[in-house]
Symmetry: C2
Subunit: 218 residues, 2 copies
Amino acid sequence: MSFNSTTNSLLKSIPALERKPTKAERTRAEILQAALDFFWSHPFRELTIGGLMSSTSAGRSAFYQYFEDLYDLTETLLRGLEAGILEVATPWFEGEGDPLPLLKESLGGLVRVCYERGPILKAVSDAAVSDERLEKEWNGFLARFDGAVTARIEQQQAVGSIPAFEARPVAVALNRMDAALLIEAFGSRPRRQPQPVLDAITRVWVSTLYSQTTQRSQ
Amino acid sequence: MSFNSTTNSLLKSIPALERKPTKAERTRAEILQAALDFFWSHPFRELTIGGLMSSTSAGRSAFYQYFEDLYDLTETLLRGLEAGILEVATPWFEGEGDPLPLLKESLGGLVRVCYERGPILKAVSDAAVSDERLEKEWNGFLARFDGAVTARIEQQQAVGSIPAFEARPVAVALNRMDAALLIEAFGSRPRRQPQPVLDAITRVWVSTLYSQTTQRSQ
DNA sequence: CTTGACATGTGACACACTGTCAGTATAAAA
DNA sequence: TTTTATACTGACAGTGTGTCACATGTCAAG
């Protein structure tokens, strides 16, 4: 009754240029899909090349035709995730007009994407600590958001919608909070309810950036 | 001119009951110290039992007399760190009177302790993703702070010093931000300046908890 | 001291996983 | 079909782990 409906979801070929995927493309997609399925029910540490490949039609050695190692594979998943997140974050990053609704829209999109692909997020961040190369990619991924948020804060500080303070450390703080919270909430089953997570994140962002605070100095 | 001044810093025996440490205690302390030294200049992933023990006076197998594996050793370091942090966090958790200065004192202490022992923090959080047992300990460690912060928020919401909202998710968000930021800032050399980190953390905590926000609803 | 008993440490082993390579099978092109 | 390039495989060596029987060290009682 059911069949694997997402096997080719990773190819994302441009419809116009569609053509029969070659054997190599199919095997590669099969491996990626197997990894993805795995991450929905197991942590990264339990993944081995042998185990992964035995859930595909190819033997263990075939893995090395497509990926250097498990971290390389994981990096591929990260790239897809980054694209997805960047897309939903656009409103606040680039939108015009009242920034508060834009921020809320972006945070809502972020939570939605991470709810849908939480295990990828968790797998990547787990894997990153064990591999220098992937760790750099992961840090780069985070740093790109840090940069974008910093720029946006500074731009809005210039026009007075955000109070004056050193933008980057606050941007980093907010982004790290997002990442840690989203991983914890949606990284593995059972996932938490998205709404309270969104509410908490929104509260912290909004009060940090858009509330007229009366912070007494030291 | 210099000598290893901290070799026995891990024993922490009660001064009154001091007595000559047995051979086993000395070896154990030597291993812990070697690990600590290691973490100041290398990430957890580069630690192996063989490498660790070859920087001590004992052979590789002796390691297993004292620890189950590297995660067990790392757990020992976590326990010491938790004690240190709990101590400096007391003011806001338990103090009486105007909560804002208490919070600032606690956050200041937190940043100071983590600046001093950042590599431990990073080593533990790195190691945790690779080992189920240590991961549980680490989550427990975080959860204890979540609980304490949640309780404190709710108590102050009851007396009106903090606005009404669901306390736990916000507590979790703030704690995860702290952890991620402190690890990133102080987890490995070169460490960042403590002051901007403290400022950013303080800003987020204070504006989230103690500023009269005018958050427009959705 | 010397002895004995217990505490501490060791070398050698089996295991699991990794990454490589020469050679084979299979798919695609001619 | 034949040819050629591509995809795949099994066997191997390497690295690190954890365990075991045995060796060595320590220290108190005789």
